[in-house]
């Protein structure tokens, strides 16, 4: 498959200039990394817009960019659900209701919030799970990008693996979280700039918006599933019955599974994104971080349009467009095949730079979240507690954090190697990750808004939610599944039409179980924490602070309203 991708000097020049800047930012920040606080928390000094763009940039990693274009081909504009219903409500909720407690509690990580609010065991469980998962996910995204460059550019798998890891390591080692965040902002703009030419050219190719409708209609209605002609160009219209749309799920499954459980589980509790908001320079900036982030997030779906158009390309033989990988359809190839088709030298280099940038922002995000949880919630908590010498401690923990960064990158490389051995493991890990997040959301939500939630309740909730998710995975499978990584390794009691609906329902079950168990156990156990200890951690015990001296456009309520209106208008326009 390595034919047809001839890179010109200009393409290499684009990538080289980009790498220089990425490392340069780390270099420029290295002198400010005097202690662990600066390195792991960026000194809580970011303006809201910088933190906000970093907030969405970490979730615009290589897997996500490849995945979203692939989903565009597979599900059409139903993919937009991941960005609108699947992100916006959760981001608004985080900014308006939850952020004051995260930021105000002075917790440096989500596990630390769990310790302050509940107890040590809840924190330990979450910290261990989070660290392991973060490294695995970062390794898997590394594997994905290396396999892509090998297949399409003919670069050696391990050389591109080590080279890309080395660059991420250099800038996160030098400048810590601050460097990761600043680079994420830069990478966000590069990803957009690199994908826009593809949007314009593919739209131009089909004859604009009207042409797209005209060409996609017959192709979609001729698919064996008998979808309506406009299925690929609508979001809600064909979600009345699962069989009417390619996601294989009804509207209430989307609203509950994606819109509520999965998205709140990710955006409101995943330390990877919360860490960006915690780095903001004030409580107000932290609240505004997800709200400002929601605005560009709403527009990201526009970048999926080339993927949507590729359903026409791949079903029209005269176009000679294929995403077959050794005879099997591989939707992850969609983006690269589109680049190969439309991009001449020059913008091709820009497009590849965008892919590399997305890979780096995703990986650096994982590494910087990992080293914080490792240093604060595992090393400092259990291996070497702070001594009486605060200054000495700071330099010690800075050294530990830097070593954790190196360790994180090396462990990711090993994971990538393992993933290369067992290809099916990739989706599996993503599934596991959402299994960890869904119960966590139930527990944190109860903890923040119900004073009575106890440490035992929270712990029991997390464990039971995780068990439910694992059991659900063991007892169900998606249609046509051939490996046990996709589920059904115990006994198949239910078959879902597609993996996605299996994931959604898994999240719904595990989140509800976790909530029910947490409530029941909390009612049966005694609240050990006195009210005074819970001030700033629980909604009902924390005095409200109004943003009185902020400009109108800096007030969370105003921003949230603006985002809500924009989101509603967009959803109606693409109904």
């Amino acid at each position: 498959m390595s034919d047809g991708f001839q890179l010109a000097w200009i393409d290499y020049a684009m990538m080289l200039v980009y790498f220089t800047f990425v490392i340069g930012i780390g270099w420029a920040l290295r002198r400010q990394m005097s202690d662990a606080t600066a390195f792991l928390e960026a000194g809580r000094s970011m303006p809201a817009w910088v933190a906000g763009i970093a907030f969405i940039s970490t979730s615009l990693g290589a897997l996500e960019v490849m995945g979203m274009i692939g989903c565009g081909a597979k599900y059409g504009m139903l993919t937009f659900h991941f960005y609108w219903i699947g992100a916006i409500p959760a981001m608004l909720f985080l900014g308006v209701f939850m952020m004051p407690f995260y930021y105000g509690s002075k917790a440096r990580s989500v596990p630390e919030y769990l310790k302050l609010r509940f107890d040590e065991k809840t924190r330990a469980l979450n910290a261990v799970l989070f660290s392991v998962m973060t490294i695995l996910v970062s390794g898997i995204s590394m594997y994905a990008i290396a396999i892509l460059t090998e297949q399409l550019l003919g670069w050696n798998f391990y050389v591109s693996l080590f080279a890309s890891a080395a660059i991420v390591l250099i800038y996160t080692y030098l400048g810590g979280l601050s460097s990761a965040i600043h680079n994420e902002v830069l990478q966000f703009f590069i990803v957009i700039a690199g994908l826009l030419p593809l949007v314009f050219l593919s739209l131009h190719d089909v004859g604009g918006w009207a042409g797209m409708k005209e060409r996609l209609g017959p192709v979609v209605s001729s698919l064996p599933e008998h979808f309506a002609a406009d299925t690929w160009l609508t979001t809600w219209r064909h979600t009345g019955r699962a069989a009417q749309n390619p996601m294989g799920i009804e509207w209430y499954g989307i609203v509950l599974g994606l819109g509520f459980v999965l998205s709140f589980g990710y955006w409101c509790t995943d330390f990877l994104v919360i860490q960006r908001a915690l780095a903001a320079r004030s409580a107000l900036a932290a609240r505004n971080t997800p709200l400002i982030a929601a605005i560009p997030k709403m527009l990201v779906p526009l970048l999926i349009i080339p993927g949507v158009i590729s359903v026409w390309l791949m079903h029209t033989p005269a176009e000679h467009f294929s995403i077959l990988d050794r005879g099997v359809t591989n939707y992850d190839l969609t983006i690269i095949m589109l680049m190969r088709r439309y991009l001449p030298p020059g913008v091709l280099g820009l497009g590849l730079t965008a892919l590399l940038a997305s890979f780096m922002s995703g990986m650096a995000g994982n590494i910087s979240a990992f080293n914080t949880v490792w240093t604060y919630d595992l090393y400092q908590a259990y291996l070497r507690p702070p001594s009486s010498d605060a200054k000495l401690d700071q330099t010690h923990y800075l050294r530990v954090a830097r070593l954790a960064t190196v360790f994180g990158v090396l462990a990711s490389i090993c994971t990538a190697g393992v993933a290369a051995e067992f290809r099916n493991i990739t989706d599996f890990m993503q599934t596991i990750f959402s299994m960890v997040n869904a119960p966590l959301f139930a527990v944190i939500f109860l903890g923040m808004f119900w004073r009575r939630t106890t440490g035992h309740g929270a712990f029991a909730g997390l464990v039971s939610g995780l068990t439910t998710a694992v059991l659900h995975h063991g007892l169900t499978e998606p249609a046509g599944s051939v490996t046990m990584f996709k589920g059904g390794w115990l006994h198949v009691v239910h078959t879902y039409p597609v993996e996605l609906s299996q994931n959604f329902w898994c999240a719904i079950f595990s989140c509800s179980t976790s909530a029910a168990v947490a409530i029941a156990v909390s009612l049966l156990t005694r609240q050990r924490k006195p009210n005074e200890e819970l001030v700033g951690l629980v909604y009902s015990l924390t005095p409200r602070t109004a943003a009185t001296n902020a400009q109108w456009y800096e007030r969370p309520a105003v921003l949230a309203l603006l985002v809500a209106v924009m989101g509603t208008v967009l959803s109606l326009a693409f109904w």
Partner: protein, 67 residues
């Protein structure tokens, strides 16, 4: 702390200028732009990126002069 608008502005200006020049030089090489449906997409992408980069630099200049 660094003002991130400066590196963004510089990077986009350099990449934009590179693409723009490449687009101008290859303007008459029809075979190069067959893929992009005959459009000299480097010229356009380069021009917009350069504009964006300069705007970012101008914004950071303005913010600094206000301080």
């Amino acid at each position: 702390m660094i003002d991130i608008r400066i590196p963004i502005g510089l990077l986009f200006s350099i990449l934009g200028a590179l693409l723009l020049c490449y687009g101008v030089v290859t303007m008459n090489t029809q075979s190069l732009y067959q893929k992009s449906l005959g459009i000299d997409v480097n010229l356009w992408a380069g021009a917009w990126m350069l504009l964006f980069g300069l705007a970012m630099l101008a914004l950071s200049q303005k913010a600094n002069s206000q301080k």
